[in-house]
């Protein structure tokens, strides 16, 4: 078990190094930031001076090693635009993104799993079909278009909820969060709903498919043959089995929620890392783009790692190994 995790860790590290190389090389190819950063009227001497100050005059491999060396000590360069360390900038925007992503995930789980259960248990009923239709629609809708409609409806037409910014934040363990005040919560609601919709549809489908498979299993028949109540058969026998793949998917999808937050944050002007990324791309703020990608890759690796761990804790077959003579 321990060896397995050690190997996984080694693999993850290699991926991280490879990604840093690709990201760095790729991002290096984006335009020439000097054009944007230096006053167009500036003379050649001024440009050369700025280029040297940013380290852009040195050979590519040297820049990469400088970058790697810095990265190892947590220094991913300085933002060309803001003049602050890029990592610091990203991390300062991270709580907003994480809060949005978590809130969206909570909405998706709280609504998606129960609906998926109903649709899986009654696949041919009106309600089962309606839930499936809803999930097909939710699957088809591009996130940005849903955001648009939400703004159009709740912000412009009804005027119930604000459509941009984060609203009032409260400090929770030193981290600013929105959901503790009504103003913050009202700002959080629309973007979170927007971000949740796709995962909500996904969870409905996944849960439904799992339930449909589970109800055909002999252990469900056997549980019913024992005279257990419907509630216990569903709530314990079915749910405990299907929770293993569902929890795994929820974990893995969390990374994708953070990635899709790029779109949602841009629409709702949510001051998170995604909006920062788009702004940075538009302003050719290379170090911020690189830092964002490195943070995201690290986050993805961490998520995969944690999901693996949780999975092995949930499933007794993995947790206890496949020994058939156990029980000592």
């Amino acid at each position: 078990m321990f060896n397995y995790f050690l190997r996984r860790f080694g693999q993850s590290f290699l991926v991280l190094i490879a990604m840093s190389c690709i990201v760095f090389l790729g991002v290096f190819a984006i335009g020439n930031p000097i054009d944007l950063l230096v006053n167009p009227q500036a003379d050649e001497i001024e440009r050369v001076r700025a280029t040297a100050a940013l380290g852009l005059d040195r050979p590519l491999y040297e820049q990469y090693f400088t970058f790697l060396k810095g990265a190892a000590s947590g220094d991913l360069g300085r933002s060309f635009v803001f003049g602050v360390p890029a990592l610091e900038l990203i991390l300062s925007k991270m709580p907003a993104t994480i809060e949005l992503a978590l809130f969206a995930m909570v909405i998706a789980v709280a609504i998606g799993i129960p609906l998926g259960l109903v649709a899986g248990l009654r696949p041919d009923s009106l309600i089962g079909r309606s839930i499936m239709a809803f999930s097909i629609v939710g699957f088809s809708l591009p996130t940005f278009w849903v955001g648009l409609v939400l703004i159009m409806f709740f912000a412009v037409q009804l005027g119930w909820l604000p459509s941009n910014g984060r609203g009032e934040t409260t400090l929770l363990f030193g981290v600013p969060v929105s959901f503790l005040s009504w103003d913050g919560l009202s700002h959080l609601l629309l973007p979170a709903l927007n971000l949740a919709l796709f995962k909500l549809s996904l969870l409905i489908r996944l849960t439904r498919a799992q339930v449909r498979e589970a109800v055909l299993q002999d252990y469900v028949k056997f549980a019913r043959a024992k005279g257990l109540s419907q509630g216990r058969v569903i709530g314990v026998h079915i749910l405990k089995n299907i929770m293993i793949p569902i929890v795994t998917v929820i974990g893995l999808e969390f990374g994708s929620v953070i990635a899709f937050a790029i779109v949602t944050e841009s629409i709702f002007a949510w001051p998170g890392t995604g909006k920062l990324l788009i702004d940075s791309i538009n302003q050719l703020d290379r170090p911020v783009i690189v830092a964002y990608l490195m943070v995201i890759v690290a986050l993805f690796i961490a998520i995969n790692f944690i999901v693996d761990l949780v999975y092995s804790l949930l499933d007794p077959r993995v947790r206890l190994g496949q020994s058939s003579g156990g029980g000592h």
């Binding site: 990201v23 699957f139 088809s140 648009l148 629409i267």
Partner: protein
């Protein structure tokens, strides 16, 4: 078991595989509806210049004074626009027709390129196995563990805007799905007796791969490709909406929506809403068809 029965009762009217496929497909009315809508959308996209009330990109036909007219509102020149006009007085309906054309062609083209690429790599992995397989599949795995939007954004950030670059980005995010699908079904096919029989007959390797294995890998590939066209269209729209996709000279639906977003807050919803609706209808139609295709073509779900 049923196969034996069927051959023994060789019926007078010969049933082709397509007949059976079509009968099973037509079992879902929703899928038929999706197919009908999809055909209409495709006809509109192909014949946009013939069907559109105006050429939205011919500046001579535009009048800025007609800008931002609501659907059905009469312009100074006495014209009415069914879906209103945008800020430059462009007829939204025509804009949508032309936008569909661009969105669909980008989606279909990128899917075809990705399909070809994925097919080649998937087959290579399945056929050669060993380190070729390991290398290709490891790349596929790593790529698929990152959301497509993230990869596409980065590629576009690196390459800059342009139709060709959007297509490259869309191909890059899609090929891995095909490679994985092709490899999986090719491996299954490889175990089957007919491949063994073909090998015994000493048919050449390419012949075995292309004439024998490939046709049997097609059904799952068709399903994935259908889903992926919808995905590609949606992704292109998203990228264009974020301002990193199509250039303004190629106004896809996503770009139209992005253009109207500025006016959404002031209640001029139609500039964004109707292109979005067109996008939505297209994607939904494709997904409905894809869903039914999966049910019909997936032997695992067959009773």
């Amino acid at each position: 078991m049923t196969g034996l029965q069927e051959t023994s009762q060789a019926s007078p009217h010969v049933q082709t595989p397509f007949d059976r496929f079509w009968r099973e497909f037509a079992e879902s009315r929703l899928a038929l509806l999706g197919l009908a809508v999809l055909i209409i959308v495709m006809v509109i996209a192909i014949a946009a210049p013939l069907l559109a009330p105006q050429n939205p990109y011919d500046l001579a036909q535009l009048d800025v004074l007609d800008g931002k007219l609501a659907p059905g509102e009469q312009s100074m020149g006495g014209k009415t626009y069914l879906l209103g006009t945008d800020d430059q007085g462009r007829d939204m309906l025509s804009g949508i027709f032309y936008g569909l054309r661009i969105s669909l062609s980008v989606g279909v083209m990128s899917t075809l390129f990705a399909l070809g690429l994925g097919l080649v790599f998937g087959m290579l992995a399945a056929y050669f196995g060993g380190w070729v397989d390991t290398l290709i599949m490891r790349i596929v795995d790593i790529q698929l563990s990152f959301p497509s939007i993230l990869i596409a954004l980065i590629l576009l950030a690196v390459f800059g805007q342009g139709v060709d670059k959007v297509i490259v980005a869309l191909v890059a995010v899609q090929w891995a799905y095909y490679a994985r699908t092709v490899r999986a079904s090719a491996l299954v096919e490889r175990q089957k007796e007919y491949v063994e029989a073909a090998t015994v007959l000493a048919l050449s390797k390419p012949r075995i791969v292309f004439r024998h294995m490939l046709p049997n890998c097609l059904p799952p590939l068709i399903v994935v490709a259908t889903v992926q066209v919808a995905h590609a269209i949606s992704l292109e729209a998203t990228l264009s909406f974020l301002g990193l996709g199509m250039p303004i000279t190629e106004p896809s639906l996503g770009l139209l929506i992005s253009n109207g977003f500025t006016y959404l807050m002031s209640g001029k919803y139609w500039i964004s809403f109707y292109p979005g609706l067109a996008l939505l209808i297209t994607i939904m139609a494709i997904n409905l068809v894809a869903d039914q295709l999966r049910d019909v073509l997936n032997p695992r779900l067959k009773k």
